[in-house]
Amino acid sequence: MLFTYALLFYLLALFCIILYSFINIRFSKNIYTIFVLIGLLLNGAHIVDRWLSTKYFPTTSLSDILIFLCFILISMSIFISINSKKPAMVSITLPFVLILGILSMIFWDKPNVKLYNNTFWLYIHLPSIIIGTAFLISSAFSSVIYLYQEKRLRGKNLNLISEQIPPLEFIDKINIYSLIAGFVLFSIGLLSGIIWDFYEVEPYKIKAKVIFSIITWIIFGLILFLKNKKGLPPGKSALWSVIGFLFIFITYFGVAIFLRDN
């Protein structure tokens, strides 16, 4: 219930950003932050409520994972937007969070990961993979913003939306930091997940979810490697981040299928 209200506030915040970015209604710029923060508070309250009622950190069902992902994504985007004083990151994250929110409601009644599997490796795997994924998604979003703004700057065609976007160098920094943090956490999550799966669930069985996770890991790893060693241009690394994001999406669908199958 609390998360539904959170979604409502996220929706209101998105509405304010649209008013500001497309119609240039100035006062809505100040209000959107308040709505997002209220939404974030309710989102957090929902997670705490679930934690208290179920007695374990709520990341064992797809619905809980998506709600936790929403919380992390919004936290990161609001942090970036407040730092840059530009709402671009929140603007791009909010619609995605709303979709995740709706999906979490669809998967509300789906079963949890069986508690007998709730071991040390799972405790490492789930938070790492979720927070890592949030960072990688954030990196992909910053890439989309980067590609948009770069196109505008190169075409010397700045518009009202361009004004809401931080400088390119700032976006590139967000992209690279998110990528590093996301890659490290995703690696930990992936490794712990494989170990957990091998020892606790079904050893010697190759799953689509794992394959897609590895592909995602390779893509983001390659971006990092090329960026550091060969000097991959930000435009190209942004493009690859977006491709990596698509694989994350597929992996998560894989999770949904996996859970449904179980």
Binding site: L153, R154, K156, L158, P167, L168, E169, L232, G235
Partner: protein, 422 residues
């Protein structure tokens, strides 16, 4: 005798066209000779800046003069005359006067109210003095242009908190880098534009500010003024590896940095972003480089997006400036009409002088005065009397020469000799 102007500016032609028409200082003498070879053009002035190339001519035959000027422009640019027509504008008479006043006061600039244009117009008058025929008309035009421009800049808010081209350029760089703190910048050139750019850059707490120029001394002086470092223009490769912002405004006729060079440089830089503001016309940096990853090249025309706000703020002031523009035109016309009375005044004086000698001779012969000193005194006395008698009529003639009212002969005499006042 009227003023006529033909040219193109940032409103009528894009930079890739304007740069083909730019007139370098070393070509000015040749250009002036070409123009002034025409006997119907009495005086001429060429104004060539990054925003405009304009040929001013004082003539009594617009058609012939304009034909000649457009031929000269066509020869310079090596462009087809049909293409030229699309970009050229022509003003004659009062319109030409208003145009030059607008240009000098910064109303016609890309960045409205920018102060550099005033100096550039003054320079153009000086070049006309140096290379061309700078006679009565241009002298008066120079005085009036400076007067009008100063009035507009002082009495309206057009020049208040001026946004310079250099300032606008740095704003564009901030779209890429955000704050310029701890960035490295390079200024190529040491002219007025570069000086301003260097000053703006220096106020951004840069890590390093380099200045490079063909003449080392000029670069050294500018670097000293802005607390920067001098870079050898023949050895800027290493510096360019660490530079984030480059502002260039030289009078080079060819690209200083071309595509092939920039492509190899970007590989060495590991595609670290680099921002170029090319304020030169013709351009210093190959515009093709903009296609390279993480290379952002802006030229003078690209500042339009930034200056839109500036234009909106200053539009009200342009309306206020109209009064000063019209008064400038009125003064010039009054002066021009007063020129018609000068031959009359000359004839009148000549007639009086001739009569003076004749009368002195007649009286000296009649009274048998042979002493040279006596004759001299007599002439002095008559000259003083003539000056006294002619002073009022001549002053009135000059002042009232543009008076369009019709008077009777008696009224005219009264006005000319100031008889009403007595």
């Amino acid at each position: 005798m009227q003023l006529t102007v033909i040219g193109l500016n940032h409103n009528s032609a894009p930079i890739d066209i304007r740069e083909k028409f730019a007139v370098h200082e070393n070509l000015l003498e040749n250009q002036y000779n070409k123009i002034l070879n025409n006997e119907r053009i009495y005086e001429a002035m060429i104004l060539s800046t990054c925003n405009r190339v304009e040929y001013y001519a004082v003539t009594d035959d617009y058609v012939c003069s304009l034909r000649l000027l457009s031929n000269i422009i066509e020869d310079n640019s090596e462009q087809d005359s049909n293409i030229l027509k699309k970009y050229l504008y022509i003003y004659c008479g009062d319109d030409a006067l208003i145009h030059i006043f607008r240009v000098a006061s910064g109303i016609d600039s890309l960045v409205i109210g920018e102060p550099q244009i005033f100096g550039q117009v003054k320079d153009a008058f000086n070049h006309a003095k140096q290379y061309g025929k700078f006679s009565t008309f241009l002298k008066k035009l120079e005085q009036e242009t400076i007067k009008v421009a100063k009035k507009i800049r002082t009495n309206t808010k057009i020049a208040e908190n001026p946004i310079t081209v250099a300032y606008a350029a740095i704003q564009m760089a901030k779209q890429v880098f955000g704050k310029l703190e701890n960035k490295n910048a390079l200024v190529i050139g040491a002219g007025e534009m570069c000086e301003l750019a260097a000053q703006h850059l220096a106020s951004n707490n840069l890590k390093n500010l380099y200045v490079t120029n063909r003449t080392y001394e000029k670069a050294f002086m500018l670097a000293k003024n802005v607390d920067g470092k001098v870079a050898d223009i023949n050895n800027i490769d290493n510096i360019l590896l660490e530079i984030d912002v480059v502002i260039s405004s030289t009078s080079s006729e060819n690209f200083i940095l071309d595509y092939a060079y920039m492509a190899s440089l970007m590989i060495k830089r590991k595609y670290k972003p680099i921002f170029f503001m090319d304020m030169a016309v013709p351009r210093d940096i190959d515009p093709e480089c903009n296609k390279l990853e993480n290379v952002y090249i802006y030229d003078i025309d690209d500042l339009k997006s930034i200056v839109v706000t500036n234009k909106k703020i200053r539009e009200k002031e342009i309306v206020k400036a109209k009064t000063y523009l019209e008064s400038g035109v009125k003064n010039m016309n009054k002066w021009l009409e007063s020129l018609n009375i000068i031959p009359v005044i000359k004839s009148l004086r000549q007639a009086f002088e001739e009569n003076k000698y004749r009368e002195v001779e007649r009286i000296c012969n009649k009274f048998n005065i042979n002493n040279y000193q006596e004759r001299e005194r007599m002439q002095f006395l008559i000259s003083a009397y003539i000056n006294r008698v002619l002073h009022t009529p001549l002053t009135v003639l000059k002042d009232k020469s543009s008076d369009k009212n019709k008077y009777t002969l008696a009224d005219s005499i009264k006005i000319i000799f100031g008889l009403d006042e007595e």
